[in-house]
């Protein structure tokens, strides 16, 4: 299999994907990137206009800006960019968290984002700590809007966020919005009844490479932008080497490829959901 195999999944071709953090684009230098195996060049035309061209055909690609990112769609956009309601709330910082390239399928990256069991081992001293390793039962469901939602997720975290002063049991809600888009809602350590939101837009560079673009909607109360970004990058830097050591790099959809446990209920459903949507890009399809 060639790494840069082209994508034939309509659901991905006709969807919007983040291809750059706008703050990373220079007005003078074209920016090179890749989406679904297609090499792209971003040109800045004047201060506000961006043009995205395919390197292979030179054709112009649909592009737009939102949430501080540049988005592209290789096909015909069938639906709008994911709507993040928290981005409308005035008492939140809206931040891009730094685009992190990871040498693994973006689907593996989404699955890692949905996983609590690794907190004590990968994010030791921050999002978890031995011996508090147990993943209590939680609920997972497929909503009418065709999103996967995991609720009643609880985990003890020594330093749950940039403003946390002590360890506490954090409530999480996970939502898989699209195959390469996943959101996390977690209790704010200051206003405990409200939730901070991280939406992870994963750019499928090719089947075995991705760039994770976190979009952070954090309550301003008691926090600062640099601290939030720094925390996000600290956590992601801990995940990256683990993700890059997963074999195979693509996400296997065959239920017998790996061994799930109850803590993986949301991942089991995510793989099934991808199968049902016939998403194959970045996956190893199940044998029939």
């Amino acid at each position: 299999m060639s790494i840069a195999a082209l994508c034939s999944d309509r659901v991905l071709l006709n969807d919007w994907h983040v291809i750059a953090d706008l703050t990373n684009l220079s007005a003078h230098e074209p920016f090179q990137t890749r989406l679904l195996g297609v090499d792209l060049t971003v040109y800045c035309r004047g201060r506000y206009n961006k043009e995205v061209l395919r390197n292979d055909t030179g054709a112009l690609v649909n592009a737009t800006k939102r949430y501080g990112f540049l988005w592209a769609c290789l096909g015909k956009p069938e639906r709008d960019i994911v709507f993040v309601p928290e981005a409308e709330e005035e008492d939140r910082y809206l931040l891009t968290g730094g685009s992190i390239a990871v040498k693994v399928s973006g689907l593996r990256t989404v699955e890692n984002f949905l996983d609590m069991g690794h907190f004590p081992f990968v994010h030791t001293g921050w999002l978890g700590e031995e011996p508090h390793t147990e993943v209590a039962p939680y609920k997972v469901e497929l909503t009418a809007a065709d999103e996967l939602v995991a609720t009643e997720c609880k985990f003890y975290q020594p330093v749950a966020s940039p403003t946390a002063k002590e360890g506490f049991v954090v409530d999480y809600i996970y939502k898989v919005i699209r195959p390469y888009t996943v959101a996390l809602y977690k209790s704010n350590p200051v206003q405990k009844e409200r939730l901070d939101v991280i939406t992870l837009f994963v750019q499928p560079v090719d089947e075995e490479n991705c760039v994770a673009h976190p979009f952070l909607c954090y309550l301003k109360d008691g926090s600062d932008e640099a601290g939030i970004r720094n925390f996000m990058q600290l956590i992601f830097a801990q995940d990256k080497p683990i993700l890059e050591n997963q074999l195979p790099k693509r996400l296997p959809l065959d239920p017998r490829a790996e061994t799930p446990i109850r803590a993986d209920a949301v991942a089991v459903l995510y793989r099934r959901w991808l199968r049902d949507k016939s998403v194959t890009y970045g996956a190893i399809p199940a044998r029939m």
């Binding site: 031995e130 011996p131 147990e134 065959d254 799930p260």
Partner: protein, 588 residues
């Protein structure tokens, strides 16, 4: 050719690549291995991925006995590669067998050998004496193995005894697609070198050379450098030649699928034995010869109150459930301390606790249950312990000692080294009476002596091996002790259970009639009907699943009830006992 290669043995590492607690990333025919040596010397060669999420085990932690995955902390055992612990579910961990794929491993000629589907033995090299060889530095070459082997027939080097010479004659003694044996001679010096070619992938190889004699000191360095330079030069030539051919496609090793049971997400355990408390093993030590002490502290909150004589169910990482008495004295409520004897005929419970469970591990335990309660209204209380039977009695003796109530703790054991928890028994002072090394007859005589002189308000508590309890109970009866003053707890029920009968059980309060068929217990049938009945040992020894009989004749098969209780016909242990009558009415 590479198909044939699967059945052959190949070197995949040098023995010195596996130092203490290291995990080596091995490769053979496109497949990756996690290679690690346990502290007992055993070399493990495993598929290089955790069965859970595919993370490379070569980045895992070798703790000397197990390999721990970096991602979710799953532990895999030395030798078997079976998963011993899943931290996300400390209560019901791997009751199923999750076992990583292992590959054959042989250490020979200073190299570690493996094969995908080995046939026969590691190649025999005449003239190689084990332990007196010199393994050269491995040289990776980007070329197919057969191309490398063919080029190696032309390898020219000096014998180790004349490394500075330049006129050595080199003869090919043997060669095939994966090895070449060469003898270099000059003057009196002669060295046999065997160069094995490890096929890493279709277009990648590693040359692993071994010389027939060890070389010491500075000369050793010179010899290693000599071959290093020459083989590196050969590498450059081979790679240049191989680059002229189109590179063969990389091999795609087949990763085996897991079994269908493992692919199913396991349900939460539905058995009635609940383990609601999570404890951490904060201390494990040798409490006596063959007895391990475990200190268990709660992960959060406080441990429930216990009484002397109480036991807990410990849910083990291997899925077994075992009962252990709490040995704590009164007020020692920050942790539970249990003592576990390594049983010679262990079915996996005591072996698991002795060998697998260690400090830092999390275990699930039940709330303490007390089916062996201690009366504290006696004038004199005798405790008679045999071996590990000390554990509940130790808690009891400390309780009476604390209240300055009269008691004696008679402790039978083979020798001083087998007396458990000396730091605890020491606090009992003169009331501790050890009896060491007695034969069965001598034990009988000693029991007679201890149990002589029964008087009102005296009670005796017995715990120990079955034969000793039988003897003590018989002697007590003979010496005039009423059954109400004789309290005992068996470790296990050694009766052969007859479950061939079939009968009806009516549950008076639940208004339910159930049929107990042959092969099923009353407890199982009640559980199937949705009745939540507490239980613990489930073999008729601990007393947890006791029920009151309103009507019918029980067929007692337990070791918990005493003779008077049996005769009364009003009590039954629902885990093993059955009915002699066609129908039994229980107060449930």
């Amino acid at each position: 050719m590479l198909d044939l290669a699967k059945s052959r043995w190949h070197p995949i590492a040098a023995a010195h690549d596996l130092p203490l607690r290291h995990v080596f990333h091995g490769q053979l025919l496109g497949r990756e291995f996690a290679v690690w040596r346990a502290d007992d010397g055993y070399v493990n060669i495993w598929e290089n991925r955790c069965l859970h999420r595919g993370v490379r085990l070569s980045i895992g932690i070798n703790d000397g006995r197990e390999l721990k995955c970096q991602y979710h902390g799953w532990r895999y055992s030395n030798r078997t590669a079976g998963c011993t612990y899943i931290p996300a579910h400390p209560a019901d961990a791997p009751a199923r067998t999750i076992t990583n794929r292992t590959f054959a491993a042989v250490e020979r000629y200073g190299l570690v050998w493996s094969a995908e589907e080995p046939q026969g033995e590691v190649p025999e090299v005449s003239g190689f004496a084990e332990g007196k060889l010199l393994a050269l530095r491995a040289i990776p070459v980007n070329a197919p193995a057969d191309v490398v082997a063919a080029q190696l027939t032309g390898y020219r080097f000096q014998p180790s005894g004349n490394i500075d010479g330049s006129a050595a004659k080199v003869a090919v003694e043997a060669s095939n697609a994966f090895s070449v044996a060469l003898r270099s001679s000059e003057g009196d010096a002669s060295t046999l070198a065997v160069l094995f070619v490890q096929p890493v992938d279709s277009n990648r190889s590693v040359i692993r050379g071994v010389l027939d004699s060890e070389v010491e000191g500075a000369a050793r360095l010179a010899v290693l450098r000599h071959h290093n330079e020459l083989l590196s030069r050969l590498r450059v030539a081979v790679e240049a030649e191989a680059a002229r051919e189109p590179a063969p496609a990389p091999l795609e090793p087949i990763i085996e699928r897991v079994s269908p049971e493992l692919a199913e997400m396991p349900e939460e355990t539905t058995h009635g034995r609940k383990a609601t408390i999570r404890v951490q093993v904060t201390r494990k030590w040798s409490a006596a010869d063959g007895i391990a002490g475990f200190e268990l502290r709660p992960l959060k909150g406080l441990l429930p109150t216990f009484q002397p004589g109480a036991h807990i169910d410990v849910h083990l990482p291997n899925g077994l459930i075992r009962q252990y008495s709490i040995t704590n004295g009164p007020g020692e409520s920050d942790s539970y301390v249990i003592g576990v004897k390594l049983e010679r005929d262990s079915k996996g419970g005591s072996t698991c606790l002795h060998e697998t469970v260690r400090e830092g591990d999390v275990l699930a335990i039940s709330e303490p249950r007390n089916n062996f309660p201690l009366r504290r209204d006696a004038i004199q209380t005798l405790f008679i312990a045999g071996g590990i039977g000390i554990t509940p009695l130790l808690a009891m003796a400390q309780a009476l000692n604390n209240q300055s109530l009269g008691h004696e703790l008679h402790y039978f054991a083979q020798n001083q080294a087998q007396l458990a928890f000396p730091e605890k028994t020491k606090t009992l002072g003169a009331s501790l009476k050890p009896h060491l090394g007695l034969s069965p007859d001598q034990t009988g005589a000693k029991l007679r002596e201890i149990l002589s002189g029964y008087g009102p308000d005296k009670h005796v508590y017995l715990c120990g091996p079955g034969p000793m309890l039988e003897a003590a109970r018989a002697i007590a009866a003979e010496m005039g002790w009423p059954e109400t003053a004789v309290h005992f707890e068996y470790f296990k029920n050694t009766n052969v259970i007859d479950d061939s009968t079939s009968f009806e059980v009516a549950l008076a309060r639940s208004c339910m009639t159930l049929t107990v068929p042959a092969g099923k217990t009353i407890l199982e049938v009640m559980r199937d009907a949705g009745i939540d009945m507490p239980s613990s040992c489930e073999q008729g020894a601990c007393g947890t699943c006791l029920a009151t009989v309103i009507e019918g004749e029980p067929d007692h098969q337990d070791v918990y009830l005493n003779d008077a209780e049996r005769k009364s016909g009003t009590k039954i242990m629902t885990c093993v006992s059955r009915a002699k009558s066609a129908r039994l009415v229980l107060d449930l």
